[in-house]
Subunit: 240 residues, 4 copies
Amino acid sequence: MTIKILGINGSPRKYGNTYKMLKLALYSAEYLGAKIEIIDLYEKRIEPCLGCLTDNQYACRYPCVIKDDMQEIYKIILESDGLIFATPVYWFNMSGPMKNLVDRITVFENMVYFDEYSWVEGKTAGIIAAGAESGTAMVVSSLMITLNSYGMMIPPWGFAYFTGKEDVLTDTNAVLDAINVGRVVYMAIKGEKTSRWYDPRPSFLEEVLSRVKEECEKNYKELFPGRKEKIFTLLDSEKE
Amino acid sequence: MTIKILGINGSPRKYGNTYKMLKLALYSAEYLGAKIEIIDLYEKRIEPCLGCLTDNQYACRYPCVIKDDMQEIYKIILESDGLIFATPVYWFNMSGPMKNLVDRITVFENMVYFDEYSWVEGKTAGIIAAGAESGTAMVVSSLMITLNSYGMMIPPWGFAYFTGKEDVLTDTNAVLDAINVGRVVYMAIKGEKTSRWYDPRPSFLEEVLSRVKEECEKNYKELFPGRKEKIFTLLDSEKE
Amino acid sequence: MTIKILGINGSPRKYGNTYKMLKLALYSAEYLGAKIEIIDLYEKRIEPCLGCLTDNQYACRYPCVIKDDMQEIYKIILESDGLIFATPVYWFNMSGPMKNLVDRITVFENMVYFDEYSWVEGKTAGIIAAGAESGTAMVVSSLMITLNSYGMMIPPWGFAYFTGKEDVLTDTNAVLDAINVGRVVYMAIKGEKTSRWYDPRPSFLEEVLSRVKEECEKNYKELFPGRKEKIFTLLDSEKE
Amino acid sequence: MTIKILGINGSPRKYGNTYKMLKLALYSAEYLGAKIEIIDLYEKRIEPCLGCLTDNQYACRYPCVIKDDMQEIYKIILESDGLIFATPVYWFNMSGPMKNLVDRITVFENMVYFDEYSWVEGKTAGIIAAGAESGTAMVVSSLMITLNSYGMMIPPWGFAYFTGKEDVLTDTNAVLDAINVGRVVYMAIKGEKTSRWYDPRPSFLEEVLSRVKEECEKNYKELFPGRKEKIFTLLDSEKE
């Protein structure tokens, strides 16, 4: 039976450190045998949670009353054995689209009131966070308690983070950590009996690394010009 | 000179505990002499932050490249001496609209790269969080480090929280804490020299309390029917 | 092969809510087949971590340079398949003795620099936190990211918390959550293939509950008089 | 009237980054006119909090039932107008001695039950955290909500952190942030009316920097040999 692992990208930059680390994890899982898929939250319309269950505990259930792109994402989540949540660090916390996703997943967890189990329980979760400044651990711990509260399992070293402005691909430890996230999520789903959960020299390191490098360079070339036009409207040319 | 205090409501329920605590704080500040205003984030369109500054530190500045309701909110924030951020607790964290607001305020803080000061520095901030389950302290501490990083001052006991499903107005401590948030924000702005920052029996307690009670009952009557129709679409009638 | 689960009690009150929840978890695991053991940190001498690895990454390794009761605790930890960390909430955080324990476990994790694996990796961890006020989720998330960083696995719903001053044994949800922590830690170690990780009506509920009740009443009778004498030295008799 | 600012050092290394940042802050405050003092927690005996107030809210009050070095520290805290808490990051959290200190300060806060005010309310607090890896923001936010809950005020940019293994004195931003903590704590106590809370080029930068550099080099020479002997007992000579 194929193991399906879903990567959820909460970054608007499909060439940045968050995206790179997520892809390192996903490609490693793929290398090991998983079927992978990625969702880019910034390309979806995800409305904020309406907090229905505060009015009535039974008002919140799958499928959510809000009919937006979550309806499609819900289906992909249900089919996945493992999920890797990747987010940039904005003010010591996840990005807004990731926050909306996290809150909207409540419909699965709240099924405990109808079916006595959470529809996402037993799935395995990994977490990735990258930021220019401090806050990565705050994001990871906030996501970890949340995913575990959904009923998800967190495998040993189930997260990777990177703090800094430089290219994460130049930081060996961060690269290995990200790769390992894909690996442990895969291993935990497979139910491998092992006491070795960190691989300091995966055989597929170079392959995965160059694949991510290439893809992100391509993405940058394709996507940055349009993005630049948008974000630099106000920028004095001399400061670019 | 009139002291202006802005309440930012991150809850979709204008009759719930978050809203009630925010109004307790605001009316107390008003009673003491402040001019108050409230913004309901769920009634605004606030797009998520695009993380421009990760591409270029100078790309992020006031006014943001995104033209949505933040443009109007930015102006109100700039004119305010104090701000009280109030949010429900969704998964140990603030609501999505509050997260988007927090991230979009970056344009003010990032003005340090242009003007050598943050456009919101020196403002005084209060925080309110209410949730059915644990997580209030996580939300408060996450907001507190963020607001302080903007350059805002946090007065003694600058926050109030409530954990529980019951009506917060029946909990004397939570009511007093919320009232006190409005009070300390006002006092700090006024620059009062005092070593007494908590008032356990404010003279205006009853007045403020009944004003909030009345308003929220009215809001409930007006707003809940429409909301109910929306959120209970899927609900079996017998479980309502 | 017997599954060994160690409970680590970070509370000074062996009749309080933290202790009760920990015992609910442990007795449930025992009921399912585990061999259980408990360590009461307040009865041990555990010096604070000296941060040796900041001077030299290789200076920190098992056994720690500090010769105190951790030497005995280290051995018990190594022999355990699962560990349940239970702490009261002191200022939104774990107790001091729990903090010292957490830091001193670094010697196991830092063995990655000598053996390429953490000596506690692959063990399964559960978390319990009880406090009179908010902060339980902060403690849980702080412990969760730490234990996961040691290389430990967090099973679905691997934690339980309780916020309040009343007896936790009167709160059905908190009791079930605590019992379930013992259960999921045991199940994860056993490697059970299941998608049901929460048991809302464990057959052994009454048995475990009355066992904990009885034990804590006995502890209270035996231990509180001595404790009372110590802590109430300064207390005006009329306020007792 | 002289403004008194107390630095509380939670690091065992009186030549490390935490200590350096604390000294930058303190000397800056001194330069501006404050009388400064420093307490090194690792040189004191501070027992863990016994959680008396969980048994009886009135059992916790100044002076604590535990007679250790806190008795002397309590007096210094009471006499201080401002306090700067500095800690290394151990597992995303403060050090054990800092945790014990934080918990033992409860005796001042709990005086609200006797005197209707916290004995430390209205004091101004600054926070410093330094760590080799992520977690600085978690420590800062945990301390910030705690100090604010004591009744302390947090001035704009009331904290500084540094993540990394290199010497913090080589990082201009971290140095400026640390210096600024001393400055804003001093300014807030003095009640200065200003909207400029960050000084990017303090006139006393070089003076303070070289003073800290010199002192820490001296400390290293004096203290490291003894420390080395202690921590490297187990270290293979070739790995030193």
